[in-house]
C-alpha cells in the first residue's frame, strides 16, 4: 500500500477547494429523498454527517446519529454509472437534405472535467468492467477520461454488502486518483495516480501516527466481517442448470421490473430509438438504459425470445455470474448488494445461486 498522509477532518474542505480550483465540477454524496446520491458539491456542510443506514432485501433506510463521520454508510442506489454510461443521450442527429439524402451530425460534446468524492471499492471494480465493455465507445470514453476519482475505504458496509467475498472491497483497491480512509478525527489519504499524487502534494498534511494506522487497519478488518458471501459455484456450469426448479420459484417472486439491472453498477444494456422532430426533416438517434427484464431486450424481428420472467431472470443471473467470466475475465458482480436492497420484492440473487448449487430433489 502506498504511503499515506494524515488530513485532519477540518481540512477536508481544503481538498474540496483544491479540486474545484483545478477546474473540476465536484460531485459527492448527499441525502436526497431518503437516499444518498452523488450531487454537485462545494462544501463539506453538504455531506452527510453521522448518517448511517440499514439495508435489507427490498429495504433502504437512513438513520441520523450524533457521529461526526461523513462516510459512515455503504452506498446509495447509484454511484458512477450514470456519470459515464448516462441513462439517456443523443448519439447523432440526422437532417434530410433538399436532394433527399440525409446528413448526419455526431452529437458528442466535450464533457466538463468531473471529480467524484466518495467512490467505493465495489464502484471502482464495476467501473473497470464497464471500461472493458465500452472500450470502443467514444461517448462513454470521453466522459470516463474526464473523471477524477476520490475513493473512500468502506468502514460501514451494509447487511446487503458482500464485496469482501468478491474481493472488490471494502477498501478501494485500485483505479482511484486519491483514496481516503475516514477515521474518527480525520482521514488517511493515499494517491493512486500521478494526478492524485499532485493533489496530495498541495495539501497541508502530516505523517500519520502509529495509532491512526492501527485505527484504519482495525476498522478495515471489521468491515471485512460481512455476513453475506458469494456462494461457491462453477460459473461455466450455471448455464447448464437451465431446467433447475430454482428458476420457477424466483420467477414467481420476481416482478421483472429491471430495478436490479438499473442499480447494478456493471450492467450495461441499452436500447436505441429514433426521435424524429415533428417537421419530419430532422431526427435524433437516442440510446437509453434498457434491461434484460424488458420485453424489447429479447425481441428480434417478429419474435420475443424471452417472453416470460423465468427466461429473463435466468438470462440476468447466468450472464452476470456465469458468461461474464468468459467475456470479461471475471464475474460481473462486485458485491455492492444494490440488486438486493433496491429489488422492490427483496429477491437475493445469492440465495438463488445457493439454491442452484443444491441438487434437486
Amino acid at each position: 500500500m502506498p504511503a499515506s498522509v494524515y488530513l485532519p477532518r477540518r481540512d477536508l474542505q481544503c481538498l474540496l477547494d483544491l479540486i474545484v480550483s483545478q477546474g473540476y465540477t465536484l460531485k459527492g454524496p448527499q441525502v436526497i429523498d431518503g437516499a444518498i446520491l452523488m450531487r454537485p458539491l462545494n462544501s463539506t456542510s453538504q455531506l452527510p454527517k453521522g448518517l448511517e443506514q440499514t439495508q435489507a432485501p427490498g429495504e433502504y433506510r437512513l438513520q441520523q446519529t450524533q457521529g461526526l463521520r461523513h462516510f459512515s454508510w455503504a452506498n446509495g442506489p447509484q454511484a458512477l454509472k450514470p456519470l459515464t454510461f448516462v441513462p439517456r443521450e443523443t448519439l447523432w442527429r440526422s437532417e434530410a437534405q433538399p436532394d433527399g439524402t440525409l446528413k448526419f451530425h455526431e452529437s458528442i460534446d466535450p464533457p466538463e472535467p468531473t471529480a467524484v468524492l466518495g467512490v467505493r471499492g465495489c464502484d471502482l471494480a464495476a467501473l473497470a468492467l464497464q471500461d472493458q465493455h465500452f472500450a470502443g465507445d467514444p461517448y462513454y470514453q470521453q466522459r470516463r477520461q474526464s473523471l477524477l476519482l476520490i475513493a473512500i475505504d468502506c468502514s460501514h458496509p451494509a447487511d446487503t454488502c458482500f464485496c469482501a467475498s468478491t474481493r472488490d472491497g471494502p477498501d478501494a483497491k485500485d483505479g482511484f486518483d486519491l483514496a481516503l480512509s475516514e477515521l474518527e478525527e480525520g482521514f488517511l489519504v493515499r494517491a493512486g495516480s500521478q494526478q492524485g499524487t499532485a493533489l496530495m502534494e498541495q495539501l497541508q498534511v502530516s505523517e500519520p501516527t502509529l495509532e491512526q494506522h492501527q485505527e484504519a487497519q482495525s476498522q478495515l478488518e471489521q468491515a471485512r466481517q460481512q455476513q453475506r458471501h458469494l456462494p461457491d459455484f462453477e460459473p461455466a456450469e450455471l448455464i447448464q442448470l437451465n431446467q433447475h426448479t430454482a428458476w420457477d420459484e424466483v420467477a414467481d417472486a420476481c416482478l421483472s421490473c429491471g430495478n436490479c439491472t438499473s442499480v447494478c453498477p456493471s450492467c450495461f444494456c441499452f436500447s436505441e430509438s429514433e426521435a424524429p422532430e415533428l417537421n419530419g426533416t430532422e431526427s435524433s438517434h437516442q440510446r437509453q438504459w434498457d434491461s434484460c427484464f424488458s420485453e424489447g431486450h429479447s425481441y428480434i424481428h417478429g419474435h420475443r425470445f424471452r417472453p416470460d420472467t423465468k427466461g429473463r431472470y435466468r438470462q440476468w443471473l447466468t450472464h452476470k455470474f456465469g458468461s461474464w467470466v468468459e467475456q470479461y475475465g471475471r464475474s460481473g458482480c462486485t458485491g455492492c448488494g444494490r440488486c438486493i436492497s433496491w429489488c422492490p420484492v427483496g429477491i437475493d440473487p445469492l440465495q438463488v445461486l445457493t439454491q442452484l448449487g443444491e441438487t434437486q430433489s
Partner: protein
C-alpha cells in the same frame, strides 16, 4: 400533396386528453402545418361526420348513443387511435362495472332516472370497434401524441412502449419510494409514458397508464400486503383509473370486498 386529415373525437371523458393536444403549445402550430385538423371540439372545430386519415378518440363507451357513434367514427377513419384511460380501459367511470348495481345506483341518484340512458357496463373503445393504436394514460402525454402522429405521417408503425415505469424511474434517477418508504407504488406493473412523474415527486405511482407488459400484479399485491396494507387498500391500488384492464381487474378482484363480509359474487 394534400395534408393528412385529423379528427379528435370525444366520448365519455373529462376532456383532459384533448387538453393534452392544446397543451402542445408551439408544437400544435407546427402540427397544424403538417395536418389539417377538421374536428376537435375543445379547439373549436366541429365536423364530426367528416372522413379523416387519423381519428383520435378520447373517452369510453357509456351510452347507447356512443355505441352507434363509434361505428360511424370507425367507418370514417383510416386509422383509429384511442387516447387515454377512458378510451383504452373504460377509465374511472368503469368503476361502476365492479358492483353490477347500475339500475339501483341510477335510481338512487337521479330525480328522474327515466331520462338517463346509460349502458350497464362501461366499455373501452376496442370493445366495439377495431383500434389501430392505443395510447394509455390519464391523461396521455403530449410526447406520446406527437410520436404517434409523426410515425403515422411517415407511414411506419408507432412504437408501442409497454415497458414498466420502473425502467424510466431509474433513468430519471428518482429514488424508489417503495424501497425507501414502503410506499405501495404501482410502478413495477404499470406502463411507462409519464416519465415516472409521481415517483420523481416522492409519490407512489397509482397506475394511471395501465398495465405494462408481463405485469406481475399478484406478486406486487402480496408485497403490498407485506407492508401491512389491508385488502381493501390493496384492491384500490389496482381498481382505480384502469380497473377494467384485465391484469389490474384480476388482482384487484382478489382483494376487493374480501374479508368484509359483503362479497357480492
Amino acid at each position: 400533396m394534400n395534408k393528412p386529415r385529423i379528427a379528435v373525437h370525444k366520448f365519455s371523458s373529462c376532456d383532459g386528453c384533448q387538453l393534452t393536444f392544446l397543451n402542445l403549445g408551439e408544437a400544435l402550430l407546427q402540427l397544424n402545418e403538417q395536418v389539417e385538423i377538421l374536428h376537435f371540439l375543445e379547439a373549436g372545430m366541429s365536423d364530426a361526420e367528416t372522413e379523416v386519415d387519423i381519428a383520435f378518440v378520447e373517452g369510453s363507451l357509456s351510452t347507447p348513443n356512443e355505441l352507434e357513434r363509434i361505428q360511424q367514427v370507425r367507418a370514417n377513419s383510416r386509422y383509429l387511435v384511442s387516447i387515454g384511460a377512458c378510451a383504452t380501459s373504460g377509465g374511472l367511470q368503469a368503476l361502476r362495472n365492479l358492483e353490477g348495481q347500475h339500475d339501483n345506483w341510477r335510481d338512487a341518484i337521479y330525480a328522474r332516472p327515466e331520462f338517463i340512458q346509460t349502458l350497464k357496463e362501461v366499455q373501452p373503445i376496442a370493445a366495439a370497434v377495431q383500434v389501430d393504436l392505443e395510447l394509455w394514460g390519464c391523461p396521455v402525454s403530449s410526447a406520446q401524441i406527437l410520436a404517434a402522429i409523426r410515425a403515422l405521417l411517415f407511414d411506419v408503425a408507432p412504437i408501442d412502449d409497454r415497458d414498466r415505469v420502473c425502467l424510466e424511474c431509474k433513468r430519471q434517477q428518482a429514488v424508489c419510494v417503495l424501497v425507501t418508504g414502503a410506499a405501495p407504488c404501482m410502478g413495477p406493473v404499470t406502463r411507462t409514458g409519464c416519465g415516472a412523474l409521481c415517483p420523481r415527486f416522492g409519490r407512489a405511482c397509482y397506475g394511471c397508464y395501465g398495465p405494462s407488459e408481463t405485469p406481475q400484479t399478484d406478486t406486487l399485491a402480496q408485497r403490498f400486503a407485506g407492508f401491512g396494507l389491508l385488502p381493501d387498500a390493496i384492491a384500490r391500488r389496482f381498481l382505480l383509473i384502469n380497473s377494467q384492464a384485465p391484469a389490474f381487474l384480476h388482482t384487484g378482484k382478489v382483494f376487493y370486498h374480501s374479508g368484509t363480509g359483503d362479497q357480492d359474487d
